[in-house]
Symmetry: C2
Subunit: 247 residues, 2 copies
């Protein structure tokens, strides 16, 4: 007989406890995105363990993109406002067919408030009827519209989010959520399908009604696997493709 998921883990190593202590520091905001956390030796003293044990905890968190190690400098809390290019394409997997390297630009279209329906409440695990904020926006590569996004956010987490805020902001959407609302996206799950363009979206993307589009449904999670974003994107994939690595 095989036990796939034993209900009670028989053993929890020390470094995992350290890991969850550091996680608490991230969730509580003791260390914010972009900050340096204390050095390994400091943390070892604080938690009363050896430096090697702290190291193993930090190693795992670095592998999960929660922390970033920089030799000679220190260990930092990962941020969507980081300068590295790879950080920017961690969540947007759309790549131009021809080697153009220029980043896409975001154009907010609408932003309004509504009440959560059944589906939104289930996915965001909020009460049906709870306030949500809905955003529609367009992504352009080299001035050509390529993506239409519809984004659903729990209203209680992102109070005050407005179209003006989106329009005035420089940088990535997740960077804004992080710096303005203290919510950092940690991971996401996507479901991809091929669909036919309806009339409205076809017009926005400049293609014929019924053209095939890539539908990308995404649920994003912050610390503690809490879902805080549900979005659906329609990608025009004639001159771009969705890139994926199977490890």
């Amino acid at each position: 007989m095989i036990q796939e998921t034993p209900s009670a883990p028989s053993f929890s190593p020390l470094y995992r406890q350290i890991k969850s202590l550091i996680l608490q520091g991230l969730e509580s905001g003791e260390w914010r995105p972009g900050d340096a956390i204390p050095s390994e030796t400091e943390l070892a003293v604080r938690f009363g363990v050896s430096q090697g044990t702290v190291r193993k905890a930090v190693d795992e968190m670095a592998a999960e993109n929660l922390l970033i190690r920089r030799q000679g400098k220190g260990t930092y809390v990962a941020s969507h406002n980081d300068a590295e290019q790879r950080a920017k394409f961690r969540f947007l997997r759309l790549v131009p067919e021809a080697g153009g390297l220029e980043s896409p630009s975001s154009t907010p279209l609408e932003c309004w408030r509504a009440k959560a329906g059944q589906e939104a409440s289930r996915i965001l695990s909020i009460k049906p009827g709870a306030p949500i904020t809905i955003i529609r926006r367009m992504l352009k590569f080299a001035a050509k519209p390529v993506v239409i996004d519809e984004i659903y956010l729990p209203g209680e987490v992102f109070v005050g989010l407005s179209l003006e805020m989106l329009q005035n902001h420089q940088g990535s959407f997740y960077g804004l959520l992080e710096s303005q609302f203290d919510v950092r996206m940690v991971r996401a799950e996507e479901r991809l399908r091929a669909v036919a363009a309806d009339r409205a979206n076809a017009a926005l993307l400049g293609v014929a009604e019924g053209s095939p589009l890539l539908s990308v449904e995404r649920v994003s999670y912050t610390y503690g696997d809490k879902p805080v974003e549900w979005r659906r994107g329609l990608y025009l994939t004639t001159e771009h493709y969705y890139q994926n690595e199977l490890g």
Copy 2:
């Protein structure tokens, strides 16, 4: 000034050298998929380093899905014939919308030999005109056709591959390549697009011509980043979706 990719790495730690020694053992066939490799202490003695250094090398290779550690038993060479369910869905990301758990079944349609054109030779890094083997097959979930695959393989690597062999084989396609041709797929890159079904494929999938399909182009690599498979799949995504995790 920032050096993004220094041409000469200034330093190569011991555990990476150990790692590449173990990799040699895999490439040379000293340890085959499914085999156990020697214990950490044995390897430490053989390579003249401490057990901790071997451990770090093996850790990385386990993270890359090249090796599988089993506490109390040993460390094994990963195989596409492994029993674990997660191993089977590492390369097929298509999931049924409704919770059905049954695995897809493969139906080989055609298998013939040809000469590599320009594109195939570039992607598989073989000479133009070199022999290749082309396979067409269908994947069915619950007896319904859902995927049409066209697979291009370098003929010199897979000599003797035939339609009969495909028809008689139980288990996954990569499992067959591994046990019959000693080639293990290690990683792959995929490019996804939405396309319109042509008449032939529409008929095979039982949909109208022009229906949106998910086009999945894949290049697979074996040890040493050598490309050994190029395939294009057309996925019907009305009752299934392509699942992806953004870490």
